[in-house]
């Protein structure tokens, strides 16, 4: 079993293999993501019932929660990919970590923006120092740090390694940050969705929400594959197969 895993791991860590094999995956994942997200959003916007306390403004949840979940998941992905790169010196892991940074950053921004907009009808202010919004702001700052560090390094290889170390520091800190922010922010509602306890939401709202989360995750996977392929082309420019591949880009 372990042997099989190791062989699989080695195969996928080769940029060329990854480039070839990920093509159909990103295609199907992308279409599935589009289908599921569109369904979820149409359902959530037009057909889910009105929430008793918040009225229609709660419909922001169908993009706020998935993007918030995703932004955290992407940070963890970056840290794991960075650790794989640092430990096993796999270039592909660094590429994945690098292209995840802008994706995660945009998701954190989206979660923050929608959270702030949602705050206006709910709390009466555009910005409230709520625990989750504050943590999301710090997460966005962590992403900006990663991005800035990567850009500041002259050689992309140094940037990869430096960003991987920074991502490890950040990922260790995320739970502590959440805990500490929780200490200072008293004004907040309990987290809307917890997997450990029964969700207080009505099932007709919950299903589109779960669908939307699924769709966002699939879209992330598809985009991650697409962007990793481009990063491979950019960084492995010297390889002959990459040059042929770039030639073909013009024909499409």
């Amino acid at each position: 079993m372990w042997q099989l895993f190791v062989r699989w791991f080695h195969k996928w860590s080769s940029p060329k293999w990854f480039y070839e094999m990920s093509k159909p995956w990103s295609f199907w994942l992308g279409w599935a993501a589009l289908l599921i997200t569109t369904t979820a959003i149409i359902w959530g916007l037009g057909f889910a019932p009105v929430e008793r306390l918040q009225g229609n403004s709660y419909r922001i949840i169908f993009i706020h929660v998935p993007s918030a979940f995703l932004s955290e998941a992407i940070y963890v992905t970056i840290a794991i990919a960075g650790a794989i790169g640092l430990i096993w010196r796999i270039k592909l892991a660094y590429y994945v970590a690098k292209i995840c940074v802008p994706l995660g950053m945009s998701m954190a921004f989206l979660a923050l923006a929608t959270g702030a907009i949602w705050g206006k009808p709910t709390w009466g202010h555009w910005w409230v120092w709520d625990m989750r919004i504050t943590s999301m702001l710090i997460l966005l700052l962590l992403y900006i740090g990663l991005w800035a560090l990567h850009n500041a390094m002259e050689r992309p290889e140094s940037g990869d390694r430096a960003a991987a170390i920074l991502a490890l520091v950040g990922v260790v800190n995320i739970p502590v940050i959440k805990f500490s922010v929780n200490l200072v922010t008293t004004l907040h509602q309990p987290a809307t969705l917890k997997f450990t306890e029964k969700a207080p939401m009505h099932i007709s709202m919950l299903i589109p929400l779960l669908l939307s989360i699924l769709g966002f995750y699939l879209a992330f996977l598809a985009l991650m594959l697409v962007r990793s392929r481009i990063e491979i082309l950019r960084r492995e420019r010297k390889a002959k197969w990459v040059q042929q591949e770039i030639e073909q880009l013009g024909n499409r």
């Binding site: 050689r155 290889e157 420019r237 010297k238």
Partner: protein, 210 residues
């Protein structure tokens, strides 16, 4: 003689330019290896790769167990590395600089031997002056002083342009020191634009000239 280091298929690239490739290298104990090449040929990078201070060079390298426990890079207390940046802290005196270099090698050297080593490089009377008030050549000598300590555990010298900023007399003195170190079984790997006149010097050309 023992093979101290064996390197194969070394490959280095900077900014889309290949500095060297398929470079193989055998270093035997007791020899002086002189790495030659034009500016920007990757001499310093190669030296740094040998002692494990560079990740930009790909390829295989293994060290003999007499200088390296791990086999990957020589143990810190087995060699001196004289770098382009000479590790002379300007806010410290030559004596303090030398003492700290020794401390990082976890060696035991008595105070008089430190003074003697500084006297050997012609810094007698400057031991307690802050290094920033010394001339460029004298600052290089502070870094060179550690080579005159004669620590028994040191088996290898890795010298990057050791003759920079030295006057004629100091150059010939250093040449003699390098030669006698090699005669006692020590190994020297160095880069220099200055030719050494010694029987066992082996020249290794890298870069455009090769």
């Amino acid at each position: 003689m023992t093979k101290l280091a064996v390197a194969n298929n070394l490959f280095c690239e900077r900014d889309d330019r290949i500095l060297f490739k398929d470079l193989s290298l055998n270093i035997t104990q007791g020899e002086i290896v002189h790495i030659k090449g034009p500016n920007g040929a990757g001499k310093t990078t190669l030296l740094r790769r040998l002692i494990g201070l560079s990740w930009v060079v790909e390829g295989d390298l293994s060290w003999h167990e007499s200088v390296s426990e791990s086999g990957i890079r020589p143990d810190g207390h087995r060699f001196w590395y004289l770098a382009h940046r000479p590790a002379v802290t300007l806010m410290q005196t030559p004596l303090e600089n030398l003492a700290f270099a020794v401390a990082m090698h976890q060696a035991d050297v008595s105070e008089p031997s430190l003074w003697a080593a500084l006297a050997d490089v012609g810094l007698k009377g400057f031991e307690d002056v802050p290094a920033h008030s010394l001339s460029a050549g004298q600052q290089r000598r502070v870094a060179l002083a550690r080579l005159y300590l004669n620590l028994p555990q040191i088996k290898l010298w890795v010298l990057d342009e050791p003759f920079t900023a030295l006057d004629v007399q100091a150059v010939s003195q250093l040449e003699t020191t390098i030669e006698s170190f090699a005669e006692q079984g020590g190994t020297v790997i160095m880069t220099s634009h200055h030719g050494l006149h010694h029987t066992s010097v082996r020249e290794l050309h890298i870069g455009a000239a090769a």
